[in-house]
Amino acid sequence: MDWQRLLVSYFVGFVLLNVLLGLMAYMTWFERRVLARMQHRVGPNRTGPFGLLQPIADGIKLLAKEDIVPANADRLVFLVAPLLSFALAPLGAAVIPFGETLHLFGLEIPLLVADINVAVLYVLALGSIGVYGIILGGYASGNRYSLLGALRSTAQVISYELVLGLSLVGVFILAGSLSLQDILREQQRALVIGPLTLPNWYILSQPLAFALFLIAAVAETNRAPFDLPEAETELVAGYFTEYSGFRFSFYFLAEYINMIVVSLLAATLFLGGIDGPFVDGVWWLALKALFFLFFYVWLRATLPRFRYDQLMGLAWKVLLPLALLNIGLTGLVRLWGIGAL
């Protein structure tokens, strides 16, 4: 085994893990500020300049809160489940390329933690395992609301995961690979339509897949308007009703980290990721991801919550057939493109 590469990659991964945690904290600040502006409020602005110390204050407060384990909870599972959600959430970012290889101190430092050839499959698999944190936590709480929230969440996440997975098949047909490196490389080529020369970003050739991916990603991360698992008007707080203190914040952390990872993934798959002129790729990736994060907040400020039957109906009766249609059409166009038709 190549020990030096292992160490360097692990170091990059460790830094990335910490950066993600920091970003997540400021994502809460960003969401509250933007949401407040959209609702004609000011938002948190007392703790530090522009309220920038608010996430730190929140963190310390949560750390100092009592960690309550309900009397009829399944103790071990109750204690471990939030940790499971939290520990798996940031790992998806490990396969996302952040830029070209850096050369520092005579070392080659890849700005990609793990270059595996089934990168997208790996991210989807992590999403599936993340459901365990929710359903185990909801089941172990020994509370009706928690159990209902967990079951809803599971049914929702697995339904939309299907749409998420199928919407990407069109991208795989065009790129001929599941590796994010290959998908990026393919998008850096030029797309010439008549007099126009555009970047070959998949948002242009796969607009339907992009829309499906975006909708499914919002549902997959349990965010508004698909935040049924924690619908406070019916289920108190859904699967984390019984959680308090830092264990509660683990679910919170996991949700926000998932949002960041999904945004990075969407930027990489459909908007060319690190592709862009003038400045380093990492800034372009950050800008594109920030757009998706803003979009999340925008949605939350704009749309009311779905009804549960509407939610499931949308996944199975609308999005799933559309995803299959997209695969069929993409396949036909590709066949014509490679001259096999």
């Binding site: 085994m1 009592e66 490990a94 509370n143 009706r144 690979s177 830092f246 396949g331």
Partner: protein, 152 residues
């Protein structure tokens, strides 16, 4: 498509080697290095994030209060004493969704390798995939008509 046993190389219907075909189209390396290092790094990161989470919880142990009272440990029920068992009956619709999910998730997984090898499999592969998806689609329409997708 079949594997040529002597050279161990994948070939399509016309006997063209797939690797050659790939190189001819994009002129770039694909899956050049499948290295265990990348998976080892992911394994180490799983350990790291688990340890980080555990440390955070343990750190809080020194600062947070711990005063359990019987009332506090009751499951939350809006102040009303809880009478029904918390893990009671649940609707079988969740079970139905799980069944549907398994069927279609397996379909998605089968479509992934097909999509990656799309250019090589060409029209023949497309028709096969269409047949496969078509059969499942008929199943979906049947479920739709039987009302399995209605959540009322």
């Amino acid at each position: 498509m079949h594997t040529d046993l002597r050279s161990g190389m994948l070939r399509n219907l016309h006997g063209r080697a797939i690797l050659h075909d790939r190189a001819g189209r994009g002129g770039r390396e694909r899956g050049a290095s499948v290295s265990l290092v990348d998976y080892a790094v992911i394994g180490l990161l799983v350990l790291t994030s688990t340890v980080m989470g555990t440390v955070l919880i343990l750190l809080g142990h020194f600062v947070r209060p711990r005063k359990p009272t019987p009332a506090k440990l009751q499951p939350y029920e809006s102040g009303v004493p809880d009478v029904n068992p918390p893990r009671g009956r649940i609707t079988p619709r969740f079970y139905l969704v799980a069944l549907l999910f398994v069927v279609f998730d397996v379909e998605a997984i089968f479509l992934y390798p097909w999509a990656v090898a799309f250019d090589v499999l060409a029209l023949y592969g497309y028709l096969q995939a269409a047949l496969f998806v078509g059969i499942l689609l008929i199943g979906l329409l049947y479920e739709w008509r039987k009302g399995a997708l209605e959540w009322v």
